[in-house]
């Protein structure tokens, strides 16, 4: 569709690897009906599908081979997440990836094995309040906003003493429904033993970047639907896609998507090329800030461009907006990540 769309800052090997991921995820990327059917169920996703995804190696995609993962990079995780976002797959692959990275670093093997196989659903309960990027390490603090918590078998609770594991059965957990048909959990603490040490920052960054990619995939799918609508719907005796005002709005959507892709793929490539520390976090922050903001803009513009039909729950475009409403703030929203970017990133050179 456009000359630069296919030119990521990826090597030929990375591009080939990404293509293979895309192919393997094609089934989920197109099955929005599956995602629709799972909305507002308990736990809001399919445990069978989660297990299949484990079998496909997706939960351990970015986990080192030594720890039982596939040892692939962020390019692959980002590509997978994008495809999952296209199909609105509700399975908590990204939160599970975060947990897998932490368990691998902590050297815990048993639960990690179950998680990578998709048999255990291990979610990390890292935040104690809204609008923060700082993991809470206070063992006594209530943990909030745990995505898809209703389906968890275990929670990872990072504490000063190390990473602790909480079994979901018997945990003091409350879940609230979210607009995408899933749920967010609040977990009141109990005391557990540490299973090892793990640094949260880099793993949270990877989850944030993957979430940005998920939102990117969703934006593209919603926009494709919207373009198709603009190309068929008639009003006042004309295809509405001929109206210049709507054309220009569509272009603005396209630009937001292009900027998101540029930021997401730049960050993925840089992380895989060995960028770490503040420089890596700054790139991730830019990608997540853009994706969080763009997904809301794109979602609401696609609803607007779809007119009345866009406001019905039957029409899939709305599902993408509801997903953006839920995911845009997770792992940090636009304002938070922009502030972090400025803090972490050196100024541009004086001109």
């Amino acid at each position: 569709m456009s000359s630069a769309a296919g030119i990521a800052p990826y090597s030929d090997d990375q591009a080939e690897s990404a293509r293979m991921i895309r192919d393997s995820a094609a089934g989920y990327a197109t099955d929005v009906a599956r995602a629709r059917a799972l909305r507002f169920t308990n736990p809001g996703f399919s445990k069978d599908t989660f297990r299949e995804m484990g079998e496909l190696g997706w939960i351990g995609l970015a986990v080192p081979e030594a720890a039982g993962g596939s040892g692939l990079g962020m390019v692959e995780l980002v590509t997978l997440s994008e495809e999952l976002g296209r199909g609105l797959a509700p399975e908590p692959v990204i939160p599970a990836t975060l947990s897998a990275l932490l368990l691998a670093e902590a050297g815990e093997t048993e639960l990690l094995g179950q998680l990578l196989a998709g048999e255990a659903v291990v979610l990390t309960a890292w935040q104690d309040r809204a609008a923060t990027l700082k993991p809470c390490l206070d063992a006594a603090a209530t943990r909030r906003f745990i995505p898809m918590a209703a389906g968890a078998t275990h929670f990872l609770v990072p504490t000063e003493a190390g990473l602790t594991v909480v079994e979901a059965a018997g945990a003091d957990l409350v879940t609230e429904p979210t607009n995408d048909g899933g749920n967010l959990g609040t977990l009141r603490p109990k005391t557990y033993q540490s299973v090892g040490q793990a640094t949260l920052g880099p793993a949270l960054d990877k989850a944030a970047l993957a979430t940005a990619a998920y939102l990117l995939g969703g934006m593209e799918a919603a926009f494709a639907m919207t373009l198709a609508y603009l190309n068929t719907r008639q009003q006042f005796g004309r295809i509405i896609g001929t109206f210049q005002a709507l054309q220009h709005k569509a272009v603005d959507v396209k630009v937001q998507i292009a900027l998101t892709r540029a930021a997401v793929e730049q960050a993925a490539a840089a992380l895989d090329a060995g960028t770490t520390g503040d420089a890596a976090s700054a790139l991730v922050s830019r990608a997540k800030a853009r994706a969080s903001e763009a997904s809301m803009i794109v979602g609401q513009m696609c609803v607007q461009l779809s007119g009345g039909i866009g406001y019905t729950d039957d029409y899939d475009v709305g599902l993408y907006l509801r997903k953006a409403m839920t995911l845009a703030p997770l792992f940090g929203g636009a304002a938070l990540h922009r502030a972090r970017f400025v803090q972490l990133s050196p100024e541009t050179e004086d001109a």
Partner: protein, 389 residues
């Protein structure tokens, strides 16, 4: 005479505006069911009818209708005050298509028989009306409607489909725009028909919208037979009658009430989230507040036009643009400061007024319904700015 309660209502027009406002306010506060204040969604008939009947009993159901037809005969300013007081107290909007749309239309265009038959039944709540204008393939282009009514003996046979019919599942009557002359140009050949929803051949299917609410419906007509007497006004002149009623809609849709409600919620949310100390939020909030006050000032000018008994021009469309876009911006700010709470379906921690996602979603269609923002801009460009077609 008051057609329902049988008692003469006080002459509220004799009061000065401030006294009138106080009388209305006191009565609302004393009589409105407290559990229905600020409902997060449009209420259904069964939820709302206690209040509906209370208004009817008081003789205040149709404040804009002339007194001879059971209304209060209020002037435009008192009507606006009346509405403001309802909004101030967070009263639910009633099933008001009979009151707001059909009543005034019948009073202006209906036959004496029609007035005598239908108006009292609106006032009593016996007839609950819905409005059948939009169709799947018309949308903002209302004049392209295709639902047909063909005369067969003494009855029209109606076939077609209406959509976005607000609360059709609660209504027992529907007023329709139908095509009665398929050969005429778009706006011509359209007639205005009253249809009992219990007539065989009518199917109502609720549409779940993005609020997960069944406020709107599709209504299907399959060889529905409607007595010829149910035609209002002249055959093929329905478009002009419906259009005459729309100027009211345009100022109504430009009323600052939605933005006022949202701004109050934003303030409460900001307090809860503790962001008022953040000067960045303070700047955003200041912008929204001044934008709101400017909208109110602009709205006030149109109210003044009504007050002076002058017609509203096409430029009233700008009110709707400003109000709907401001309402949306306020709710977008709510989503931003709500952070992770923005994902929640239900109101935050039991305060049903704090539902950022709900309000954000409610704000979305305001730039679509009643003519999209694009249509409004087209109207202003051509009819106000005089730009070429």
């Amino acid at each position: 005479m008051n057609a329902i309660a049988g008692t003469e209502p006080e002459d509220l027009n004799a009061l000065d505006d401030d006294s009138f406002r106080l009388v209305v306010r006191r009565w609302i506060e004393a009589n409105y069911p407290p559990e229905l204040r600020n409902p997060p969604k449009r209420l259904h008939w069964e939820e709302n009818n206690p209040w509906y009947f209370k208004l009817a009993e008081k003789g205040w159901l149709c404040p804009g209708w002339p007194r001879e037809y059971g209304g209060l005969g209020l002037g435009p300013i008192k009507q606006i005050i009346f509405t403001e007081e309802l909004e101030r107290w967070g009263c639910a909007r009633s099933n008001d298509h009979g009151i707001i749309m059909l009543g005034p239309l019948l009073i202006r265009y209906g036959s004496e028989e029609q007035k005598k038959y239908y108006l009292p039944k609106i006032l009593s709540g016996e007839h609950v009306w819905c409005q059948g204008y939009s169709e799947p393939n018309s949308g903002s282009d209302l004049a392209s409607l295709r639902t047909s009514a063909v005369l067969d003996g003494d009855e029209y046979v109606v076939n077609g489909q209406k959509i976005w019919t607000t609360l059709a599942s609660d209504a027992n009557w529907i007023f329709l725009l139908v095509r009665t002359d398929p050969t005429a140009k778009k706006q011509e050949g359209i007639s205005f028909l009253l249809v009992d929803m219990n007539t065989p051949g009518i199917t109502v299917r609720p549409i779940i919208n993005l609020e997960m609410h069944d406020e709107f419906c599709e209504v299907f007509f399959d060889n529905v037979r409607v007595p010829k007497a149910n035609l209002v006004g002249q055959l093929n002149k329905g478009w002009d009658m419906a259009k005459a009623l729309l100027s009211f809609e345009r100022i109504y849709l430009g009323s600052p009430r939605q933005s006022a409600y949202a701004l109050t919620r934003l303030k409460q949310l900001a307090e809860k989230m503790g962001v008022f100390e953040d000067p960045s939020f303070a700047t955003t909030y200041a912008k929204l507040r001044t934008d709101f006050e400017d909208l109110k000032a602009l709205y006030g000018r149109y109210v003044e036009v009504l007050k002076r008994g002058q017609p509203l021009g096409a430029d009233v469309s700008q009110l709707k643009i400003v109000q709907s876009e401001l309402f949306q911006r306020i709710t977008e700010t709510m989503m931003a400061i709500a952070a992770e709470n923005a994902g929640l379906m239900e109101p935050m921690e039991g305060n049903r007024n704090l539902n950022p996602a709900g309000l954000y979603i409610q704000a979305r269609p305001t730039t679509i319904y009643g003519g999209t923002s694009e249509i409004q801009r087209n109207i202003i460009a051509k009819n106000v700015l005089g730009l070429p077609g």
